[in-house]
């Protein structure tokens, strides 16, 4: 078996989640790597979109920012934030990748503060395009580390809506119909959301990770089905592309 890091596994799992012929709004870091990997393997027609205006680039090297010149290198369009966000509001963006400092059982995310808003213990960057992506894109994929400080029953601040308080809550708040969190990918496993309760549910555990590891690192009651398969580890070709082609300097995957 090949050696790989948790970050590489997360990139591979995220990449496999993306279908060919769909559009994805990507953020800085791991999402860019995952989208680039998908494009080189099973999803050559994946349309990559950046919030600052880059649409359909051929990404030459990992961009440092979602607005730098790499995000519209040989793109089909160098547009504006208004154009991209309007497309998302119109229903043209299938997937969005998000990260977070905290997540709750309904997939709501906090990227704003730890502690109180007015005198925070830790000030985080805020919504950025996160709230927009989580509000407007059809399926949100969340990439983050899993432990009890991050997977919490109650967020310190609800920056980006997941399923809010449960079934129907998004639509009652006025958010676009049929949207919401789709997958949560961590260093321990993959989660989705129960169709009825909209609460987070374990979908697979990564190789070498036990159910106890996952339960111990989740600060709320996770739905655990009777059968929990093991995530397929990174394939040789995936690792080669990640290390040699997509991020040779190890800026994202280390």
């Amino acid at each position: 078996m090949m050696d790989y890091t948790a970050t590489e596994l997360m990139a591979c799992v995220a990449s496999r989640t993306l279908e060919d012929g769909r559009s994805v709004l990507v953020g800085t870091g791991l999402p860019m790597v995952a989208a680039a990997l998908a494009q080189r393997l099973h999803a050559p027609n994946l349309l990559i979109i950046f919030e600052a205006g880059g649409i359909g680039p051929r990404i030459p090297t990992i961009p440092i920012s979602v607005g730098d010149s790499r995000t519209f290198h040989r793109a089909i369009m160098a547009a504006s934030m208004d154009y991209v966000m309007s497309c998302a509001q119109l229903g043209l963006v299938d997937y969005a990748f998000l990260g977070a400092a905290q997540i709750d059982p309904y997939g709501n995310l906090n990227t704003t503060v730890i502690g109180s808003h007015d005198r925070p213990r830790i000030r985080l960057p805020g919504s950025g395009g996160g709230n927009d992506a989580g509000s407007l894109c059809w399926r949100t994929i969340i990439l983050m580390m899993q432990d009890r400080r991050r997977f919490v029953e109650r967020l310190d601040f609800l920056t980006t809506p997941g399923y809010l308080t449960g079934p129907g809550a998004r639509e009652r708040a006025g958010l676009p119909w049929g949207t919401g969190p789709y997958r949560v990918i961590t260093q321990l496993g993959v989660m989705d959301f129960d169709e009825v309760s909209k609460r987070m549910r374990l979908l697979s555990r990564h190789p070498g990770v036990t159910l106890e590891d996952i339960i111990e690192n989740t600060g709320f009651q996770l739905i655990i089905p009777e059968e929990v398969p093991v995530t397929e580890p990174p394939r040789e070709e995936e690792l080669r592309l990640l290390r040699e082609v997509i991020d040779p300097a190890g800026i994202v995957i280390g």
Binding site: A52, G53, A78, G126, S127, N131, L136, L175, A249
Partner: protein, 338 residues
């Protein structure tokens, strides 16, 4: 329309649409005037202590760092910033004491480089206040509402979130669909500074690549300073009018500042200077380090051209050009682990 919910964030930059129309009618000249001046004069005339402002570009992409340094050198104080994906810009403006209030879409972070030590320290220590939260599209559409001469723009972002509860937006029932909808108040910043690839002496400006929010921001801003990589002849603008993003009648000052976005990225011309960014990120971990940086790069020089010499001059700029053209591999000292 029934108001369903109201954010508690401070409402900055809003104007009654008729007041905005009057400002535009009286203060924005439709007569072409040569607006060239040096940056010092532009900053002195069009930026004032206490103003609420926004910067074009995207945090460290096509941002007028030259104008930021000049605001720091002129000792501007108590400014409020529209932190619309603010990265290096807001960090250094907070660290230098220019900005003490922020309306925050994205701030205190350096994208792939990690978090901003100086900005975070200022907020966590109470020196800087986040007076309202918003999202990136939220800011874009606040400017768009202003650019359209409206009081607000309805959108489907921020609904159901604390981002809305701490913003200046309101939620009403959409009279057509009956669904709740978020109204973003128009945002007319006191001034904006936008860095462009080229413009003529009147301010007709071209931007290569993504325009981000700048087409709308240029119309929303009450006063607009354009800094440009080069000033070109008006004929060049007239040969390709479809490339004009900002027309002259929105512009108050035109300042020619080559490499004006350094250490940020200027698409097509030069990539970001990651060695310089790493130096800032390292020094800005302490207040003493911040002082050292500001003394060295801002207060010890008279203008931006002296600064460019100090950071490596033509040799460094040539390296950043090759980096932008993908002729060099990226070296990012902040990415080195251990």
């Amino acid at each position: 329309m029934r108001v369903l919910e109201e954010g508690r964030g401070e409402l900055l930059g809003w104007l009654d649409p008729d007041e905005a129309r009057r400002w535009m009618a009286e203060r924005k000249s439709r007569s072409p005037v040569d607006k060239r001046m040096n940056l010092r004069e532009a900053v002195e005339r069009f930026t004032h202590d206490g103003d609420y402002f926004a910067l074009g570009g995207f945090g460290h992409i096509r941002v007028s760092m030259a104008a930021i340094y000049e605001m720091i050198r002129r000792g501007r104080r108590h400014m409020a910033m529209a932190a619309k994906t603010a990265v290096h810009d807001v960090d250094i403006l907070i660290a230098s004491g220019v900005v003490d209030r922020v309306e925050c879409a994205y701030s205190f972070g350096h994208e792939l480089r990690g978090l901003s030590p100086a900005g975070r320290r200022a907020v966590e220590g109470g020196r800087v206040k986040v007076v309202a939260e918003i999202s990136n599209a939220g800011f874009q559409w606040r400017f768009k509402a202003a650019a359209m001469g409206l009081s607000f723009l309805p959108t489907r972002v921020m609904l159901g979130s604390d981002t809305l509860r701490y913003s200046s937006a309101k939620v009403v029932e959409d009279p057509f669909s009956g669904k709740p909808i978020c109204l973003l108040p128009a945002c007319y910043p006191d001034f904006a500074i936008i860095h462009v690839h080229r413009c003529d002496r009147y301010g007709n400006s071209q931007i290569d690549g993504i325009t981000i929010e700048d087409s709308d921001l240029a119309r929303a801003a009450k006063r607009l300073i354009i800094t440009t990589e080069e000033i070109v002849d008006e004929d060049l603008i007239r040969m390709e009018p479809e490339r004009t993003v900002i027309p002259y009648y929105l512009v108050d000052a035109v300042c020619e500042v080559p490499y004006g976005s350094h250490p940020g990225n200027m698409p097509g011309l030069y990539y970001s200077d990651e060695e310089h960014m790493a130096e800032w990120l390292k020094l800005s971990r302490t207040d003493e380090g911040v002082k050292e940086y500001l003394d060295k790069y801002i207060f010890s020089v008279e203008d931006f051209s002296q600064y460019i010499e100090l950071v490596g001059g033509r040799k460094k700029m040539e390296y950043l050009r090759r980096l932008e053209m993908l002729e060099e591999p990226l070296r990012a000292p902040w990415a080195v682990r251990g």
